[in-house]
Amino acid sequence: MEELKKGGIFEISDLKNVRISIGEIVEAGEKEGRAGEGEGKEREPMGPHPMPRIATLRDWDFKLLNRYKPFYAPLCDMCCLCTYGKCDLTGNKKGACGIRMDAQHGRIVLLACLVGCSAHCGHGRHLLHDMIKKFGRDVPIDFGPEVDIEAPLTRLVCGIKPRTIGDYEKVFNYIEEQIVQLADALHTGQEGSYLDFESKALHMGMLDSLNKEAADIIQIACYKMPSGFTGVGDGPDVPLVDVGIGTIETEKPVIIVIGHNVPPAADIGDYLTEKGLEEVVELGGICCTSIDTTRVYKKAKIASALGRQLRVLRAGIADVVVVDEQCIRADVLELCQKTHSPLIATNDKAMHGLVDRTDDDPDKIVADLVSERVPGVVILEPDQVGEVAVRTALEMDRKRRKLSFILTDAEFKHWVGECIQCGGCTLACPNGLRIGEANKSAAALGDTKPLADLFDLCVGCGRCEQVCKKHIPIVDVITKAAYPQVKAEKGRMRIGRGPVWDSEIREVGAPIVLGTIPGIIAPIGCGNYPNGTKDAWLIVKEFAERNYIVTLTGCMAIDAALWKDEDGKTLYEQHHGGFDAGGVLNIGSCVSNAHIHDAAIKVASIFAGRPLRGNYEEIADYILSRVGACGVAWGAMSQKAASIATGFNRLGVPAVVGPHGAKYRRAFLGRADRSEDWRIIDATDGSEVFVEPGPQHLLVACETVEEALPMIAKLCFRPSDTDRGRSIKLTHYIDLSQKYLSAYPPDWHLFVRTASDLPIAAKGELLKKLEDEQGWVVDWKTKKIKEGPIRGYNPSFNPTNLERLVRGRGKGKK
């Protein structure tokens, strides 16, 4: 007992016949944060909502849902989830279980978010298992001197400061429990109110943001990916990497990795390094696994984002394809078989019916793959993948060298000639592309440009081929026509930098909240662009050039890297990589976009000193009113994108999606014409203030990129903007509208509180417009506005939606 009292390490696992009753197991990470037990200045007391459950943050959700009322656009009028059905819910009718169309759509949104959130959680948990197995539970979470607040979402949601990756076990326990509770609510006969379904979807979104942070932190910690160390190659200065099909050196043996979970690819990199094969074998990737591979293996390349996956596989450039999980073509095995590319499935979520060869002798596996006795294998142990993949690639390269999968000129001519312009492909194409017309040009006039032009407009789904009566390999035909440009597709991007530095936040916190940095723009997610990948580039370019901070992740980060200016430079080369005005940051893969949440949270925490631990509601309220951030998921396609956007929304960050995003069925739209929706509290004195609609929406789709650009700028307005900040935001909003819509935005006046909110250069003109068009009263002598605005400008305005935050009111109140 003496020993115990003195402290120190005390191993009791060897004792037998001893029963120790432990009142509660207090782990390191948890203990120090207990209210009143602070061990130092940085220890925060626990906030009101650690590890919130379904109902905990429902009041916050209902506040959001009251202002941004769910808008539903059914993609299907029927429900087929139980065998009472199908039920026809057209016109908001009730189904057999009593559910109406609106609640059913809340349910479908919850389902989408469930699948998306589960994908990240499943991935994160899987990664954690593998990393603990490989490195142990005690890998420290230490991101260097520049990142003190290593896990803002973990602290915010769970109230935990994770010290080692092992601490994430309880985070995942919490998330998994909550996911299942929410999945329960999908069952027939649960909610009848769409509001409660949406509150649950928001809860799911929040969990998803936490998932992503957890997953990225674990991999950063274990693989020592870039984070907050100030050496060269970290943070703002991460190196550039090649992007594009044209950058893959196909004369070498080529391994293509696809998916989201990096350990198998990392093992390939390790094996190549160990064997000195870095220059011999080409390791390229598609989707997030490729981004993460570049964070662990310097020679890795990014072949493409999701939208070109089918075409990369069809082109047969891979001597081996290694898939892990998510966003893999479901027909990957069939595609690989056609190009004699052996497939290695490395994850139990996507085994494609292949035989599990984990722990089998690598010699045998390689022999089976190279002989094509089997089209592929499952290897579930990441550390067994590298050897098999590399050795197979080396051998297959020899076998496959003489094969080509690009159409010959004769084949191309044959196929375009086969086309009868029946239009079936157009009706099957998600974007309604006029393929028949292009074929006709090629066949009749020998003009292949219309076909080549389709290459970038095509989202690479292959549905056209499924309906072609002439069995034309349409995807291959387009690739052939575009082959010169495909080969030339050589972009550059920064590798994923991971967390935004605390020091950066300290620099930009004030300008962001004051509005003088007009916004943080976060283009993220999938790639089914309505009008080609160039849209992604344009969005980044416009905002980076206007001194917004542009933070990218995932496919959009890749696609934006494909395009160059006249000098042949990509945006990543033109712009700095720091979290500051004009920066273009590749944050990383999809899971890395948690760091964008984290940046917003750190503004509240580091700049504004708001407490973090278990304090989600207050921080979200802060962000909604003060941090001019806007997500852009221009090609949003998957269930993950649905949950990601919903997670941003709960935290008070709006998002703009492309027109396909309308098929997510739900938007969160504010109504500028309903002043009662924009009542907010001034925390200084508890008074109610009616404010301008900022941000006007939480989730909205735009038809074209031209429309999206001013919309994104608009969604950066916040009630807290200073007049100087507001005038900058207004400048860009008006300018983008004039540039792309050829007109003033119809609602710009709503954001004017005082004359000093107006852009200085156009102040007179704008005042005149306010007087003429809006009937405002202007004192022309002082150039001041006397009547008109929704409210005046009050520099000490302290906006909140939470009664309890009014000064002098009980902090403890829920």
Binding site: Y72, A73, D77, C422, P430, R671, Y740, L741, S742
Partner: protein, 181 residues
């Protein structure tokens, strides 16, 4: 059920799908509508004809909401002041609310005509109106070159055939002509 294939072939919403009708049918509905509204999208910019057609309809007393970046087309024709920019999501959200005061502050619409909007986005918004703008009924129809099952009434697909553009333009002319207001 309709007899036409949706322009997006899998866009089969359910038991209630829009009727394929001749331009004159829509014209007569517009003629008798209390408060019609023309909603145009960015696809009208592919040819001046469509902007002009919309202006033609506007001259018959049908207000125009310009969504996407279609506004640009009207501005170029010096008609920018007469049309109102709206985001389509925002606009549809307003249309489903009986208490919305409309572009002119005097009330919501009873007959909404979609023209030149990206197919799938338009389809979703038509779906919203079909399912939720029912009391009072807001009839939403499409006069695009696509068959829109989510609309109450729609033109047939004219996009997959030869000479489509001419045929389609003629349909719009017939429509404009048939409107008596």
């Amino acid at each position: 059920m309709g007899v036409e294939i949706p322009f997006d072939v899998a866009n089969i919403p359910g038991p209630e799908v829009g009727e394929v009708v001749a331009p004159e049918v829509i014209g007569s509905f517009i003629s008798s509508a209390k408060r019609p509204l023309l909603v145009v999208g960015s696809e009208i910019l592919r040819d001046d004809f469509f902007v002009e057609t919309a202006m033609e309809l506007a001259k018959k007393g049908i207000p125009i909401a310009a969504t996407g970046h279609s506004l640009r087309g009207f501005v170029e024709k010096g008609y920018g002041e007469k049309v109102s920019y709206y985001n389509l999501h925002e606009l549809t959200n307003c249309l489903r609310d009986p208490s919305w005061r409309g572009l002119d502050g005097t009330g919501n619409y009873d007959f909404v005509i979609f023209l030149g909007i990206v197919y799938y986005y338009a389809s979703q918004m038509l779906s919203c109106l079909k399912n939720f703008a029912t009391d009072p009924l807001v009839r939403a129809v499409s006069i695009d070159r696509y068959y829109h099952p989510q609309a109450r009434m729609s033109f047939a697909n004219v996009s997959a055939r030869d000479g489509e553009e001419e045929e389609y333009k003629e349909m719009l002319l017939r429509l404009a002509e048939s409107i008596k207001r």
